[in-house]
Symmetry: D2
Subunit: 192 residues, 4 copies
């Protein structure tokens, strides 16, 4: 709940430090075994068909830009937190069972994933569903229940970041195309 | 991530027990100081203007029906869990700061709330935003930061349950109206 | 915008007839060449792996139940309406171009689809994205741009109805499983 | 449906011109009687309490930035289109009745509004619900059913643009605060 909050915070000693939140996001992805390169590979898999000249550098850059958004960082940290708690058996028993077993009727992991995809608009929904179902590359490893860590949230989050980066590329490529055509265009202004 | 999950679970000893999840939801709402009557009072506040004959019994019944949905239970338990962890200082430091201080740019509480509202369709969005901003009744108490417990998630969740119960009433009242008018109607079949 | 509306309607001659809206939904799906059986086939494709005993009758029943929800009917009728207008060239020119050409950066069709999927909770997101990307069965035909009709909205809507019916089956099968196991259970009460 | 689309478009003569879509959005808002200043006044109303030094120039600038996003333009044009069609009585009869009468159980207008709010994250949900319920300023006029035009979609859209601009301001003000404090900060990089 956000509203009275802002008034209250005028006096509170707490002050959000955006850089710390951003750094924690990158640190925890790494701690949980996720490399930016691996997310970029998912992006390449999703987009190379449409943009044959797409490079891994571009994919990595777009993943990093997605991860620089506050909503994305909030979802990443919250999801990893719940995975960590489940791994240590610290959740309310009924929630513990559902998260630890990645229960089919527990959908909060998908909900967090969608809060990531939404930031780049509805065109990312399809890509998210697709990689989430097929689990290529890193998603197969994250989803392997025999390996120890609980990644109930993390695999959905990684898929969502890749889908968002794909949407971001689609928006940017359109802007580039219009600029090249010398059209009277908004160019870079239209994109995030 | 839900897919391979279902296959895996064929062998797994884990089996979801819906009644336990439902019971835990009611128990934890109570433990966190939320009474069904108080949520029903929010519903009455939102709906009495449109349905002057609305009774508290109806409001309570509709709140209970909302709370019987799995998606709602998942969101309630997950939100309370994060509040609990924040209260005990157990979260990742950067997340701890944001949840404990109900940081204005942290919106995962609203995201969980919306997963509740969504179950009864988009007509609940407005009611949710309205009670969340004005914080009548129980929401004022839950949002009072001087009282000890961390309710960053819980106040949004309670507002969302009230908004959903309001949507449910709107759908049901329409069905009743059509039945009374003796119209060739779908009656109760159309409603959840 | 819904609020003053309800007051106003007390006096207004207009009165929603739910049966007419439901009938119009079925009629327009048929007019646009979509058979319930074909949506049921998508459901079977998505679910047979998890429920080997699943019958076409069950799939059809679940599709029909999804189509009996008001939010779903609203999305189906609104989407078909926009397809119809695009086919006749009646839209605002810039919108006409985007809808008629199923522009990659136009995502309102996905947004309507998600309002359908949401009604059965987040577990349907993945199934929607999957069928929307692979376009099996009827979705291939609906998406064939050489065939005349504009189905920019309809193909997403059909995929979303199939994904929702899949979610509904997952919820119901869990309830059946618990009942068979003679567990102290909520049984049918928990499901829609 | 977006996927095969991209391949097909390689050959198609159609090519999205982003500037035209952006211009059409501004033109149609104006044609429907909505001034940027009026949306900015809603933003001021929502935010002046938290940022006493906020100027109308800032509010207008943020509204313009929100309106420069493709997802927002898509929702604005599609919503105005449906209002226009309803005004001319051109919709499928059952849909016509619901849109022309702003039926309480028809929620596609809220769904389009939420696709706008989502672009700036979940913190805008509350502001949207609040202005949508209280209808200050321009929203009262848009919602006045005695005035002729059908604004079933437009009033929700205007409220959503104001809520999004409020979220954008909250994100930016945080960045400014951190920069002023000379913190090791991400500054402008974190914001859209």
């Amino acid at each position: 709940m956000k509203i009275g909050t802002e008034e209250r915070k005028a006096k509170a000693p707490y002050s959000l430090n955006s850089k710390k939140v951003a750094d924690a996001t990158m640190l925890w992805l790494e701690k949980r075994g996720v490399k930016i390169e691996e997310i970029a590979e998912l992006v390449m898999l999703l987009q190379k068909k449409y943009y044959p000249g797409l490079t891994m550098e571009e994919c990595m850059h777009n993943v990093e830009q997605v991860l620089s958004k506050r909503e994305v960082q909030n979802a990443v940290l919250t999801g990893i937190q719940l995975d960590l708690m489940a791994e240590q058996g610290l959740l309310i028993p009924e929630l513990q069972d559902m998260v630890a077993n990645d229960e089919g009727l527990y959908g909060v992991d998908e909900i967090l994933a969608f809060s990531i995809v939404n930031v780049y608009g509805s065109i990312g929904f399809t890509n998210y569903g697709y990689v989430d179902k097929l689990k290529p590359g890193i998603l197969e490893r994250l989803n392997d229940k025999t390996l120890g860590p609980c990644n109930t949230f993390l695999d959905d989050i990684v898929g969502a970041v890749a889908a968002s980066a794909s949407s971001r590329i689609a928006h940017r490529k359109q802007a580039e195309r219009e600029q090249e055509q010398g059209e009277d265009t908004l160019g870079k202004d239209i994109v995030r």
